[in-house]
């Protein structure tokens, strides 16, 4: 604490500093992935970014109702983790969930229809951005309540174990949600029941407008795993291959009966907590430093350096994603609004034949 009467020193929270630093060697391990796999990780991140940029634009035009929480900047986490899963695994996420859905293979057309509140959306327009779900891909939903998804993800892991299946359940959540009691209750239950669960904390350092050190004394959220008696690891969440490597280990452990893992991915959201939040609470220097760590250009540089693809080939992937999302936005907007009768339909299962 600064002595009374003196101005407090401004903390340096840039990624290489003591307070904001990752404390990580973020050089990617050579995962031995073939070119096609590497390109699919790149494509996944690029598609998420394009989706979010399109959503941002539509929101600012006033065409999209409600709240919008963008995933831009955190793409490496969804891409890296989802690449390690099987088709029948379960996923839950927070209200910043577009990236997870896209990485899981959901259709951006139906996603945009949902974000526009239209009948062709995944939830018939009744969920919106914060409650989007795709059961056909084991995606048990985004969630509007901070810290609620971990219990649900834990329950899906229990269902897999109860039935004797080899499925795993991955829960994505933010740093600040780990202060909810639900985080403690869920992870403790998963520990004692030895569930096939993977907990992925996307630590973008801000819980809404508050910096991590303002709301917890821990530097590494992964340390919380120790109190449940299972492993916790920290990775550079802007390095898709580092995330992927950690996920491979955690998913393998879960699938083989070794119980849960907590993976903390240090990352950065490019925008405010929601669109409309100008994030003035962030130090511009800190923000600029993190933008230099944008997961997409850094991975692109690696792909070029490794000779995985040419500039032209990577540009084609980016252009294709743009075109795909243009089309998805158009589809979403062309979809009709639900009939008014939909208001009272489906409160209970039997309401709908």
């Amino acid at each position: 604490m600064a002595p009374p009467g003196t101005a407090p020193e401004k903390p340096d929270r840039t990624p290489d500093s003591k307070e904001g630093g990752l404390g990580l060697d973020s050089a990617s391990q050579d995962a031995g992935l073939d070119c096609e796999r590497l390109l699919s990780l790149f494509r996944c991140m690029v598609r998420i970014r394009a989706f979010e940029e399109h959503a941002h634009k539509e929101f600012l035009k006033g065409e999209m109702p409600g709240f919008l929480h963008l995933y831009s900047g955190e793409e490496a986490i969804a891409a890296g983790v989802m690449d390690t899963l099987e088709d029948d695994d379960y996923i839950v996420t927070s209200h910043r969930g577009h990236g997870h859905l896209l990485a899981r293979g959901s259709d951006p057309k139906r996603m945009f229809a949902e974000l526009f509140g239209r009948v062709d959306g995944y939830c018939r327009g009744k969920g919106g951005s914060m409650h989007i779900a795709d059961m056909s891909r084991g995606f048990l939903g985004a969630n509007g309540i901070v810290g609620a998804a971990v219990n649900i993800g834990t329950g899906a892991a229990f269902a897999a174990k109860y039935r004797g299946e080899k499925r795993v359940s991955v829960s994505f959540f933010g740093d600040a949600s780990t202060n909810r009691g639900t985080f403690h209750e869920a992870l403790n239950l998963a520990a004692i029941w030895e569930l096939p669960a993977v907990y992925v904390c996307e630590n973008n350092f801000y819980g809404s407008a508050n910096y991590q050190s303002d709301y917890m004394k821990l530097k590494d959220i992964a340390d919380r795993a120790a109190s449940y008696g299972f492993p916790g690891v920290v990775v550079d969440g802007n390095d898709v291959l580092a995330v992927r490597a950690a996920a491979v280990e955690a998913v393998t452990r879960a699938r083989s009966g070794g119980g849960p893992t907590l993976i903390e991915c240090k990352t950065w959201r490019h925008w405010g907590h929601f669109i409309g939040d100008m994030a003035r609470y962030r130090d511009p220097a800190e923000h600029e430093a993190w933008l230099k760590r944008d997961p997409i250009p850094s991975f692109k540089a690696k792909l070029l350096a490794w000779g995985v693809a040419s500039e032209n080939e990577l540009a084609q992937i980016e252009e294709a994603a743009e075109a795909e999302m243009d089309e998805a936005v158009a589809y979403g907007k062309a979809s009709p609004f639900p009939p008014v009768s939909e208001l009272t339909a489906g409160v209970y299962k039997e309401d709908r034949p």
């Binding site: 018939r124 779900a133 059961m135 609620a148 219990n151 897999a160 299962k349």
Partner: protein, 323 residues
Amino acid sequence: MRTLSYMQAIAEALILEMRRDPHIYIAGEDVGKFGGAFGVTGPVFKEFGPTRVLDTPISETAIIGHAVGAAAAGLRPVVEILFMDFLPIATDELCNQAAKIHYMFGGQVSCPLVVRTAIGAGMGAAAHHSQSLEAWVCHIPGLKTVAPATPADAKGLLISAIRDDNPVVFLEHKMLYATKGEVPEGDYTIPLGKAEIKQEGKDVTLICYSAMVRQCLAAGALLEKDGIGAEVLDLRTLVPLDKEAILSSVAKTGRAVIVHEACRTGGFGGEIAAVIAEEGFATLKAPVKRVCGPDTPVPFSPVLEAEFIVSAPKIAEAAKSLL
């Protein structure tokens, strides 16, 4: 017919259903080895063991929250929240998650979940172990609420609740656990949303549920001495509510006394009174009366607790005031 206690009837329903469907499991605090805080799940654990009757930590959000995920992933959890006073700890899990996922996900997923929980005063358990909070639950669309009064109803309604594809809150009054009654053998269901006339009468309808059904029957006996015929209508289910049964009984008697143990203000009785006012006003010969718990916490001292709980003489007095 053989006689079972309310508690045995609940255990029998659980056992029969778990034999029928392997997707059903039980989870809660002390439901396993200890046999349940009130002893309800002891026989179930004995038959099915710890893989299907799971002890949990004291973690109400995880008990209901994990069950939402398990239900969405295809299981049919029956979880226990020891006392309804603890249910608010998991309000998000019940009211924001379980109740809403079917609707907000556009029908992609259902949540076949039963939350069993003990309600009611009478044991000297005081302010944190005695409440009847059914009105809170009834306010949330997407949940169903069941409150049986007899062993036979408890069994048939619990089987229906377990087979229902929606989240159901199943309220067991702790002062009823030891009460006995005739219970049919084997598999039978009582549909959710069907009230039952427990005693016919022509002069006044006593509308009640859970433990208050016994008090109303006792009140009916008191009224009979004065030549007043009380009809005791046991709602059995609060959501869905059997409006037709309420309105047709009130149309017959022209008088309604609504009875619940829960506190008066914001209680479910207000909803019943509103239904009568909106749809049955013309049939009334007298104002609708409520006989409810006072707007206080449940006190510890036996003298005060006894005063808190609605008694048969109070019900009878209210009924007489309408004649």
